[in-house]
Symmetry: C2
Subunit: 643 residues, 2 copies
């Protein structure tokens, strides 16, 4: 083997391992910072461009509308027009329903599908995302505000706090985006989101029983126990007419979904089904004078577009804790949902989504929304899927939807005042039933028990305690798991695979042959304070076991080879641990050899003088080299003894 | 190359990679649980033994006294006798001083060196650890209790809450030990402890200025700002006689330390110096009638050994939060300190310390202590070092110390009532000065900037805010770092090192040669929810960069090899990420090849059908094999094209 080109400053006799001086702190820090905050290297095609080109690229980067609008044409618009009208027909019933879920006037739900989509069309970078309100965030926001102010007691203050929560949510999303803290959203795992969505959908479904049964009284709590007991408590209020209508709507909506599942091309059936339900409901309510039969209707809806709501924002310290809580939780949940959904659709057409830019777009749309009588919006799954299936080609479909909503607000709003509440309940229930993913939970159970536990913690926590407790429980478990991953990294004993230079885990490859007098251990993960105690114990245990094993063969361990190829980084405590391991083994007359430390690890080992202590001749580039080196010194020692 | 022995159930054509069925859940779970809670495999030599032998071994395991006492002899005892007397001479002044620090009667400090060492001698497994009170925990416990009850207002209640805190601390330590949660202590890194100890030592030193200056009034706050302003506020109370005596004692004690540093054999000079200071101080105070010259003395000390204190324990809900806070923090700090110290001395003589067993011993000694008028004890560094240097051979030295303390309590206690407070302050200051490790902080600064920040967060937090805030700040930062380690694992591009089959990081080994049409990426760390988004971005960025790079050479990427050898585990989200990476790359007509997945990763890939999706022929045991495989299919494709 020929030694590699030695880098400058390196001694020629250092052999094949690169002992070059570590990178200066500034370089290493810059590289770490980049990997932490700019993993997607957003400015990669800026290098070597002139200033005007750079400026143009920067504007296009931060405001994507400048990127897609100049190349937009009539053909693309025809697609977006169709998609926009389709999602508008979904936005109207969803807007009214979810606003009812948040206990705010239904028209706020319609407002929320007018301004935010326009803002998203300018700043958003997903071509498929359809902006709108979502059930889970509507419920969370209502739940948090209800802790301070009951909607029934002071509807105006309640509404003002909802706007305040929306502003806070938007500001948090903007800040996260600007400081590129998308990393926080990474800690909401798929399992947590699956469980959380399932739990939220369950309690929302149960709450809709109020509407389906036509109850007048109900609980303000959201957990399963309170809700079911409330139904039993007020069961004398159940109106059979209402229940019957509700069940009919529900069956209709579920059938429409089945059609889509059977024939994906007929997706529009399920897309316009809610609108049909609302329209039929309105006509029915108007014709039969439904209110007299115990079927409540939405009630007066004001004509006209969003009034400004700057002066509605309320930062009274007496209440501020509630909108802050609502804002923080919904900001993260909405981001996680919106980004995940935008990303999965983008993946289908091999487009890349920059999570941090999406956060900025979401933040801006919620800030502007909070000033124009909108409440929290994000990219809901149902709407986005419809948008995608309807063939949208760009953010223009959101503009089309916004224009449709504007027309509705100007001319059609009063018509919707006849919408029966039971129809809205049926629409919400039908949407929510699709969010309880039994099969995904079962898949988790089959493939990863811990992920299943994380998922169930969110589900059961949300269903039986409260949404924030469920979420925190699940995130807490996921974090503990993350810490356990690093606190207990796996290590394995390697053996030689016959007739190759390969060394692999003897447990995984039972045919791999142990090397006489030598124990080859593969470490993985970073070595640092949280796992260094464990790694020391584990290595010493491997040695003890090996000795116990070899004793019976009359053989002894003389070398321990630590393969650090899988160790991505090491801290001071980690280096101290290697020193301790070495000291413990030297006492037992076992020599420690280091194999293939990676760049960052090597830097740390050099800075801390570990390499000098152990000697450069004890560091090898590959296990094969190391074993040959050990054999050579074994032979030499034997030779010396014989002399 | 000959394929390895195929394991049962494996298809013969699977080649060298082991695609054997995953281990059943129970096996994998048991193995994970063992690694998490029993990394040291405590029962390893139980297998194959008869029941009586097992029972005997179990008793010896849980109660180490049965292990060492039967083989104990007179010769060993002579060593322990000397060591025991030496540490007793240190225990008396330290006991009185630290009790003053905790604002409790000095005799409690003496009691605390009588009962707990006896308990430790039975259950402890370190031969060198000397039990006693420590300054930091004394201050933490006082600080927490002062929040609820001022010592000056109700000394008896204050003392009772101190006992309660000690009991809580002991119970927590016992529970942690029984449930083998030593893993929690792992999260207190060396950097945190260095900073915390330095910060505590700084504020304790500053507080001793009260004693040195002979002030009558002082602040109850512990932060640097409050303490220095208190000194300025009460500077008219400064007594020069007291200050002079204090400085003389301090110089004497520091000189004694210097002697030890110069000639380690004269360690006993610094070991008995505090006792000499106390004795000289007593005689001086008695002769010159010190109190009349503004030099306060300790005051009456009761004769007799520890009275029971069961009825003193106070669980009044009004105050209970204070002892709980004190108990939790001191339990962890005392464990971290005691275990770390026990371990480092054990390492010197190649003895193994089981952290979990130590926790049980500490827990029992504090529980029994709280019932016999003792407050929190652990294994202080200074005392343990003296014990080790004095040549102790077993836990018997603690018994000797306890007997000495008993004799002192019976006969000599009243003599110590003349101890001048200024002497105690000088003893504490002198001990604390040694705990501020400038050189260690500088070492951290030079070798690891983040560790330095963690250390300084603890130091500055403790010095300028409060002890618990400083500790939490530092642990929080350390946890964030731990999570960042897993959220942003390093990945690198590999190249072939000329004339070898080795593939190494091209950044680390600039001579490594890239492979035509192929990008070899090495991933590390576990792949799971917290880093899967990053890994996807990073891999796609590697591919993009490689394409941009190769474009200029008129070459194109056709294969991406993912070397998973360093990936220790993977979760559902991680597998989904691999699927996404594959899908994204297939769109670009790039094929993904997996190299050398480890046991746990392979299991997960099989269970989730990833292997079936990608095809077994796309999984290789080594990079070399993979590249040969790719070349072969490239050639075949070319051949097909030519036909």
């Amino acid at each position: 083997m020929i030694p590699m080109e030695p880098s400058k400053g390196e001694e020629a006799d250092a052999g094949k391992v690169n002992f070059a001086a570590p990178r200066p702190f500034a370089t290493a820090f810059k590289s770490d910072l980049k990997e932490t905050l700019f993993p997607d290297d957003p400015f990669h095609d800026f290098t070597g461009k002139t200033l005007p080109v750079k400026a143009k690229k920067a504007v296009q980067y931060f405001v994507p509308v400048f990127q897609w609008l100049p190349v937009y044409n009539r053909k693309l618009f025809m697609y977006d027009l169709l998609a926009g009208i389709t999602i508008a027909s979904l936005a109207i019933p969803q807007g009214i329903s979810y606003a009812k879920l948040a206990n705010i006037p239904p028209v706020i739900g319609l407002y929320s599908s007018f301004v935010p989509p326009l803002i998203y069309a300018i700043f958003g970078n997903s071509k498929h995302l359809a902006v709108g309100t979502v059930a889970s965030s509507s419920l969370i926001i209502a739940d948090a505000i209800e802790k301070k102010v009951h909607e029934a007691d002071n509807p105006q203050l309640y509404l003002n706090l909802i706007f305040t929560a929306t502003l806070i949510s938007g500001v948090i999303q903007l800040i996260l985006g600007v400081f590129r803290l998308g990393i926080l959203v990474d800690f909401l795992s798929h399992s947590t989101i699956t469980g959380f969505m399932g739990g939220t959908a369950t309690i929302i479904c149960l709450q809709q029983l109020k509407g389906i049964f036509g109850l007048k009284h109900f609980t303000t709590h959201t957990d399963v126990v309170s809700v079911t007991s409330a139904i039993f408590k007020y069961k004398h209020e159940i109106r059979w007419e209402c229940t019957l209508v509700g069940i009919i709507f529900l069956i209709f909506l579920q059938l429409a979904k089945k059609v889509k599942q059977r024939k994906p091309k007929l997706f529009w059936v399920s897309a316009i089904a809610p609108m049909v339900a609302v329209a039929v409901g309105c006509i029915f309510a108007f014709v039969v004078n439904a209110e007299e039969h115990g079927i409540a209707i939405v009630g007066p809806l004001k004509k006209g577009i969003n009034p400004p709501s700057l002066k509605n924002l309320d930062f009274d310290p007496k209440y501020i804790s509630a909108p802050i809580e609502a804002g923080v939780i919904t900001a993260l949940i909405a981001l996680a949902e919106g980004i995940a959904i935008g990303r999965s659709f983008a993946l289908m057409v091999n487009q890349q989504i920059d999570g941090n830019k999406e956060m900025i777009a979401f933040g801006l749309m919620n800030i502007v929304g909070s000033l124009t009588s909108c409440y929290l919006t994000t990219g809901p799954f149902s709407k986005t899927a419809v948008n995608y299936n309807a063939g949208c080609k760009s953010q223009m479909s959101n503009v089309v939807m916004a224009v449709c909503m504007m027309l509705t607000l100007f001319f059609l709003a009063p018509l919707f005042s006849y919408t029966p509440l039971v129809a809205l309940s049926a629409i919400i229930m039908s949407a929510m039933l699709g969010l309880i993913e039994y099969d995904k939970a079962y898949h988790l159970f089959k493939t990863d028990k811990f992920d299943f536990v994380i998922c169930m913690a969110a589900f059961l926590g949300v269903a039986f305690i409260s949404m924030d407790v469920g979420l925190m429980l699940s995130v807490g478990l996921a974090l503990i798991r993350a810490l356990l991953y690093v606190a207990r990294p796996s290590s394995s004993k390697l053996g030689n695979i016959a007739d190759t230079g390969l060394y692999r885990d003897v447990e995984q490859y039972p045919g791999a042959i142990s090397i006489p007098k030598t124990l080859v251990l593969q470490l993985g993960s970073p070595i640092y304070f949280a796992n260094s105690g464990y790694i020391r114990e584990r290595v010493l245990r491997w040695v003890r076991d090996e000795k116990a094993n070899k004793d019976s063969h009359g053989d002894d361990v003389e070398y321990v080879l630590l393969d650090l190829g899988g160790v991505t980084s090491i801290d001071i405590t980690g280096v101290e641990t290697l020193v301790e391991i070495r000291r413990c083994l030297e006492v037992q007359e076992i020599k420690v050899v280091i194999v293939n430390p990676r760049l960052e690890v090597m830097e740390k080992l050099i800075v801390t003088n570990f390499i000098d202590k152990i000697g450069k001749e004890r560091v090898f580039l590959s296990i094969k080299d190391a074993i040959e080196g050990c054999k050579f010194s074994l032979a030499r020692e034997k030779g010396n003894e014989e002399h």
